[in-house]
């Protein structure tokens, strides 16, 4: 059975139409963080990933648009060094309690 642990996904999209692109971006930001204009980092448990795929699938034109999901592995085993920026970095929500 699939372990119920969160995995990190790099999600990128190619959507020519402005309206659909905005809607997909809005949908993705409920699940994760925008790190580039059309690239998101999403840490999601299996249930959340299913919801994300359904929600994104409902927004896009399946003929014309493309959304790439790249599974980077379980969040607990990710090495921070594998994730870096050159130039400005964009914060990714940490995978622990958030104290503000």
């Amino acid at each position: 059975m699939i372990p119920d642990t969160a995995r990190r996904y790099l999600i990128a999209y190619d959507i020519p139409e402005d309206k659909r692109r905005t809607r997909v971006a809005k949908c993705l930001q409920t699940y994760g963080d925008r790190v580039q204009y059309s690239v998101f980092v999403v840490d999601a448990k299996p249930a959340a990933l299913v919801r994300l795929k359904v929600a994104v699938g409902a927004e896009i034109n399946l003929e014309e648009d493309s959304v790439l999901l790249c599974d980077l592995g379980p969040v607990s085993s990710l090495e921070e060094s594998k994730f870096s920026f050159i130039g400005r970095d964009r914060p990714v929500t940490p995978n622990e309690a958030i104290i503000l």
Binding site: D4, D33, V42, K45, A47, A48, L52
Partner: protein, 533 residues
């Protein structure tokens, strides 16, 4: 359940409940009690039905989401898709995702489900020509032939389901059944934990989400915008968190949440706990659709008549954990030995009053030696002073206990119990008594441990406290440091002493709350507290 409630629930049998019952009676019970889990199976099930959930997507020859009822057998249900043939006869199609089995097998619950849909349609005067299961992941339709035996079996299943969900007590979990490994409800059913013994197989990788958001900057304001929780301080955006990542919110002191955010959190079934900046729990908010309403009624009855066995176990494990914590970190072997004997006295205490006496004596002894655990020269500890705190150590302890109480409130709420009806603490003092009961066994290993570590390794320094005449409080910075230390402690994994699997302390709090629930609803013989070794 009393008779007037039974009649109210008597017509509540749905086809989906019968299908759950065919899989496992306890799963039907949990579903009827409103237990929901956020697992992949559940999400796939919801998603695969999405296309058939909207009646308006239907056409003249294909009807979607058709509600059906059988007056004679007394159940209701919904057909995913019904195709209407030119001659007016119907073909029933049930959509099924198979996220776990991955095979297009028509199982017994599916046969029963189809038989009930068809029987209801016939009862409503329709002609049914054929029935199918459509496997959404395989995009494959399988015809199912139904015989009289199937209909008779389905009718019996409705009755069995009705008897099950109207019963006073929850059905026992299955024992060592392979079905449990692919059941979406295993994390709330705890089939293996019922025996209160070491667990050989591991059903759920129950890594808890520890994405609690603590809002501790005075004057900040949190609101929701485009699916994200935004926290702003003095009009400036300080953080933005995707809502799917939030598992609970703790508010510390003077922080505002907007109504929209509160509604969104409750809609998602997440809880909110408010504390003062000095660590007093002010209140909490929980979603109205919490599970186990009837267990809650049993909880009130038990709290009213008293449950000495539960109270004994709360105190005995608390004192035992104080002894272990002091043995590991302090230097007071005599106190440890006496605490051990207090722990066994608590386990056999003849009344709650004597139990409270033992607890008080043990607390005096434990806090008398508490200072031997502190290594930092800046901090001294003489006696426990609750409110106001007379020294920094007491101020930190008060605050850590509030954080622990918040977690206990969340755990109690998540299994549908009421934090206010307790068995050791009195319920008539406007305190969350059950949450305080549950907190007892976790005080030393979670809260005290977080405080002692934070003081000893310099996360909390004397500058993190402010003195107000005789009262000592944490500064804003100190409060955040202590919250971080507490969060690190509560998300640490340890080996659960009863079940021998490793889980985080936060998950352990919820497991213990569910064991209390099991004792109350009659599926659990007794309660065993977490006793660290």
């Amino acid at each position: 359940m009393s008779d007037h409630q039974a009649t109210e629930r008597g017509d509540a049998v749905t086809i989906s409940l019968v299908a759950h019952h065919e899989f496992c009676p306890r799963r039907a019970w949990l579903e009827a009690a409103g237990e929901r889990t956020d697992t992949r199976q559940m999400a796939v099930g919801v998603a695969s039905h999405a296309a058939t959930d909207d009646p308006s997507t239907g056409r003249r020859d294909i009807k979607r989401a058709v509600d059906v009822a059988h007056l004679g057998w007394s159940y209701t249900g919904r057909c995913d898709t019904i195709e209407v043939n030119p001659d007016g006869s119907l073909e029933v199609v049930e959509y099924k995702a198979t996220p776990v089995r991955r095979r297009t097998d028509v199982t017994q619950p599916m046969r029963t489900q189809l038989a009930l849909q068809v029987a209801a349609l016939i009862d409503m005067g329709e002609r049914v020509h054929a029935q199918y299961v459509y496997f959404t992941e395989h995009k494959r339709r399988v015809e199912v032939e139904l015989s009289d035996i199937d209909f008779e079996r389905a009718r019996a299943a409705v009755e069995a389901t009705r008897t099950c969900v109207e019963s006073d007590t929850a059905p026992q979990p299955l024992e060592d059944d392979p079905k449990c490994t692919r059941c979406s409800h295993a994390s709330v059913c705890l089939p293996d934990e019922r025996k209160l013994a070491s667990i050989k197989r591991r059903i759920v990788v129950a890594d808890p989400d520890t994405q609690i958001v603590h809002l501790a900057t005075p004057g900040s304001r949190a609101f929701v915008r485009s699916g994200r929780m935004i926290v702003a301080t003095h009009g400036e955006e300080a953080a933005s968190i995707p809502l799917e990542r939030v598992q609970g919110v703790a508010v510390h002191g003077n922080v505002d949440l907007t109504g929209g955010l509160i509604r969104e959190l409750l809609w998602r079934g997440l809880s909110i706990v408010w504390c003062t900046s000095t660590g007093r729990v002010v209140g909490d908010a929980a979603s109205a659709s919490g599970p186990n309403g009837s267990a809650r009624a049993l909880q009130y009855a038990s709290a009213h008549s008293g449950r000495l066995d539960l109270a004994q176990e709360f105190v005995a494990s608390k004192v035992s954990n104080q002894a272990t914590f002091l043995r590991r970190n302090g230097n007071a072997p005599e106190a440890v030995a006496r605490l051990r004997s207090f722990a066994s006295q608590a386990a056999d205490a003849p009344s709650v009053n004597e139990l409270l006496g033992v607890e008080g004596a043990a607390a005096g002894l434990y806090f008398g030696s508490f200072g031997t655990m502190l290594r930092a020269p800046d901090f001294e500890f003489s006696t426990r002073s609750r409110r106001p705190a007379h020294d920094p150590v007491n101020a930190a302890l008060n605050y850590a206990y509030a954080l622990l109480l918040g977690d206990c409130i969340r755990a109690v709420r998540s299994c549908g119990l009421d934090p206010h009806a307790g068995f050791l603490h009195s319920s008539n003092r406007n305190k969350p008594a059950l949450a305080l009961d549950l907190a007892e066994e976790f005080r030393a290993p979670v809260a005290d441990s977080a405080v002692v570590r934070a003081l000893n390794n310099g996360e909390l320094r004397s500058g993190d406290f402010q003195v107000n005449l005789a009262a000592v409080n944490l500064t804003d910075k100190g409060r955040k440091a202590l919250i971080a230390a507490y969060e690190r402690r509560v998300s640490t994994e340890f080996v659960h002493p009863t079940f021998d699997y490793s889980c985080s302390w936060r998950r352990a709090i919820e497991i213990q709350a569910r064991l209390v629930l099991g004792v109350l609803d009659g599926t659990q013989d007794r309660y065993i507290g977490v006793r660290t070794r």
